[in-house]
């Protein structure tokens, strides 16, 4: 099963779509998922990353079937 990659809010609008799909590779990290899918956009250090709906650092490893999400600082409440 491929990795499901999701974008939210201003990031979703800038990228122009809500999600991507990516085949897993050995030892792939969250940062590498971004770099593979967004080669022309450096990963802004403000961008938050979640793996399977939990916050993670960019160096976390990603596996087949995982859900990775990237989004800007949250502004609820």
């Amino acid at each position: 099963m491929p990795i499901r990659v999701r974008y939210f809010a201003s990031l979703r609008e800038r990228i122009g779509r809500a999600e991507d799909s990516l085949d897993a590779q050995p030892d792939l990290t969250v940062a590498e998922v971004w770099a593979t899918l967004q080669p022309d956009r450096p990963l802004d250090s403000n961008t938050l990353a979640a793996l399977n709906q939990e916050y993670v650092e960019y160096d976390r490893r990603v596996s087949d079937g995982d859900e990775v999400a990237f989004f800007p600082p949250v502004t609820g409440g």
């Binding site: 999701r6 939210f8 809010a9 201003s10 979640a50 709906q53 939990e54 916050y55 999400a69 989004f71 800007p72 600082p73 949250v74 502004t75 609820g76 409440g77």
Partner: protein, 145 residues
């Protein structure tokens, strides 16, 4: 613990009355209820705001809210917690968030209500886009409490 993402406008005081009578702790067991309601203002950063669209990350939102409530420092002191958060299009005066905490004593209720709100603001995956008279903008960052 009851957590709900609301697609439609809600009335916090009605919801509190209903929740307390149907799901609240046993009468006589709680001595303190602290609540916070966040409501949409018609101004932000010096500009008039016409409406707001609240986006969220379905699934992760509920998980994060549960994690926030479970992580309250004095979890033992709490008898019940209710968290409601609005998504979708919101107009000035509409409630956005309700946090209510029931406890035996007031110190735990005050502290938990505040702690849940601050954690929600900094880590629950909601995003606000403001509609101004002359355009739209994403709210960049929440101010610290």
């Amino acid at each position: 613990m009851h957590i709900e993402v609301c697609e439609h406008a809600f009335s916090p005081w009605e919801r509190l009355a209903t929740f307390e009578s149907e799901h609240g702790p046993r009468q006589g067991s709680f001595g303190a209820t602290a609540t916070f309601v966040g409501t949409m203002r018609d101004f932000n950063e010096g500009d008039d705001v016409v409406s707001l669209t609240l986006e969220h990350y379905p699934g992760m939102t509920e998980r994060q809210l549960e994690r926030i409530v479970s992580g309250v420092d004095d979890r033992d002191g709490l008898l019940e917690v209710l968290v409601l958060h609005r998504v979708g299009q919101v107009v000035p005066g509409d409630p956005i968030v309700l946090v209510a905490v029931w406890s035996a004593h007031r110190a735990a209720a005050f502290a938990a209500c505040r702690q849940i709100m601050e954690a929600l603001k900094s880590s629950a995956p909601f995003w606000k886009k403001e509609e101004l008279k002359d355009g739209q903008r994403w709210v960049a960052q929440n101010t610290p409490g």
